[in-house]
């Protein structure tokens, strides 16, 4: 404390001296650069960052100090882990509970034995391209946030670093096909995913997940539309923010990248949570659903129960007795 007292005296003395100097009679060009020196704390209080001139071309290095990295660190190390943990674990928990209580949504009418083409080969290719990229991106991405506390202690520094290095490469490279997939999904299915009144009714009836209700739906019901828009908007956001991180300083500074990382990571964990639900419903959550993206053909009864209006449309196009609409021919028309 003694030194602190001396310190105060020192500060007071310094200020008094400065005041004395500045109080000297002023001429038009009087300049005392020493008296008017910039002070760190003052600059930080004013701008929360200190920036100046550097002679090297790398102008970003002109930022001397930007302490807001601290807030970002808090977000990354604490907030994000909570958000991600809650979103992902919460979703899994919800699904487990749902599955245990409700179980798989069955085909009430059983299989008809007749199928109808729901997604053609190209659609399925795009879906699986995006989906497989997404899975790798999700795992490698989650590794960045959760690997250090969860995986590293299990496998050790070297192995974890090696794995993370590959995961980083995979994350960076697969972002491109993923982005392409998102763009194609957007263009390919935008027609069926414009929200309409039917969706309101569908939503009111809870999508028929519980009980034996089958609210009508066109090719995509409101739930699927939600997934579509999550993929398009979420995918767009993660792609945009991801590229901002991958190409540092192209149009962004440190703050920009911190923001990009925040957007990227929040959207990504929510995206992952949503996709877990999507995967559930497309696999063990609903009988007959996987086939849509599997073989591309669904049972007519499945179509009737879940996409009655779409089935009607298809029938209208191909004739009432023809259970085998031919998209190829349709395309040829």
């Amino acid at each position: 404390m003694a030194s602190f007292g001396r310190f105060i005296r020192l500060a007071v003395g310094a200020w008094a001296l400065l005041l004395l100097v500045t109080a000297a009679p002023a001429g038009a060009q009087q300049v005392n650069p020493t008296a008017s020196a910039v002070k760190e704390q003052q600059l930080l209080q004013e701008l929360n960052r200190i920036q100046g001139r550097v002679s090297i071309p790398d102008q970003r290095s002109g930022v001397l100090e930007q302490p807001q990295g601290r807030e970002w660190r808090e977000f990354r190390d604490v907030t994000l882990r909570w958000i991600g943990g809650i979103a992902i674990l919460g979703m899994i928990a919800a699904i487990v509970i749902f599955y245990l209580t409700v179980g798989m949504v069955r085909l009430e009418a059983g299989r008809s034995g007749r199928t109808i083409v729901r997604f053609n080969a190209f659609e399925r290719f795009v879906h699986w391209l995006t989906a497989s990229c997404f899975i790798v991106l999700a795992i490698s991405g989650l590794n960045i946030t959760f690997g250090r506390p969860l995986l590293l202690p299990l496998i050790g520094f070297e192995a974890f670093s090696e794995w993370s290095q590959w995961a980083k490469f995979a994350h960076n490279y697969l972002s491109f096909p993923f982005t392409l997939g998102v763009v194609l999904i957007f263009l390919m299915w935008i027609g069926g995913n414009i929200p309409s009144k039917v969706d309101v009714e569908w939503a009111k009836r809870g999508g028929g997940l519980i009980g034996h209700d089958h609210p009508p739906a066109y090719r995509f019901n409101a739930g699927q539309k939600m997934i579509y828009w999550i993929v398009v908007i979420g995918g767009g956001l993660v792609a945009a923010s991801g590229y901002a991180l991958m190409f540092p300083f192209y149009g962004t500074g440190i703050e920009g990248m911190q923001m990009a990382q925040i957007v990227h990571s929040i959207v990504a964990v929510l995206f992952v949570a949503a996709m877990i639900a999507h995967i559930y419903i497309g696999t063990i959550g609903m009988e007959g659903a996987f086939e849509a993206m599997g073989s591309g053909e669904v049972d007519v009864n499945w179509a009737r129960e879940h996409h009655s209006l779409w089935l009607d449309e298809q029938k209208a196009r191909t004739g009432p007795n023809d259970g085998q609409p031919q998209p190829a021919t349709a395309a040829a028309e």
Binding site: F7, A37, V38, L64, E65, G69, R70
Partner: protein
């Protein structure tokens, strides 16, 4: 226990860049990697000050906290170092660093980063002190030879101080007391949560 710190006395710094080239020289730092740099605030205006900045070897270093692979470690002298073997070049330390210290060689594709490089306080890296492997990855290990970082040792005006935090703080305080002015221990509050304000 020694707690190594840097302190740049902005009332002495003249932006001569000796610290920058001394660093390049000592560690053969390649073009484009600036472990240390000098920034001039209020350039050309009265009150202009230049400050030499590198990794400040923060207390509770943010880079270490956010590193996804935990490649940072703090030596017994409180120098924050990292392992290039573990680093994956993700850039997170750069987002967290208040001082712009981490540098990345452009080795990967599409602007992606290579292994991070930064000021080592002339203390090398995890390899054996003074080994060839250490030199190639991190540069010279002066601390192990009983020397301080060359940037500070070669500073033209003795503006950049390196050494035990208490000693250099005392040196700075004495200077300020003697001359009657000082623009602060730049970066200390951010790096060490303390300051030697004048």
């Amino acid at each position: 226990m020694a707690r190594m710190k840097f302190l740049c006395d902005a009332d002495r710094c003249i932006e001569c860049n000796a610290c920058v080239t001394a660093c390049k020289n000592e560690h053969e730092v390649p073009w484009g990697i600036n472990r240390r740099r000098v920034v001039t605030i209020n350039d050309g205006k009265p009150g202009e000050r230049s400050i030499s900045m590198a990794c400040m070897h923060c207390t509770d270093a943010p880079c270490a906290a956010v590193c996804p692979v935990n490649c940072f470690y703090t030596t017994a002298d409180a120098v924050v170092l990292h392992s290039k073997d573990l680093c994956i070049g993700c850039g997170y330390c750069f987002y967290a660093c208040p001082f712009g210290a981490p540098q990345y060689p452009k080795v990967g594709n599409f602007g992606s980063r290579g292994k991070m490089d930064k000021c080592t306080y002339c203390a090398g890296g995890p390899e054996a002190d003074g080994s060839k492997a250490e030199y190639e990855k991190y540069g010279a290990n002066r601390l192990a030879e009983g020397k301080l970082p060359l940037c500070a040792e070669m500073c033209s005006t003795k503006s950049l101080l390196a050494g035990d935090g208490e000693i250099i703080a005392q040196i700075y305080k004495e200077r300020v007391m003697k001359r009657g002015y000082g623009s602060g221990a730049w970066g200390w509050k951010t790096a060490y949560r303390e300051t030697i304000e004048s």
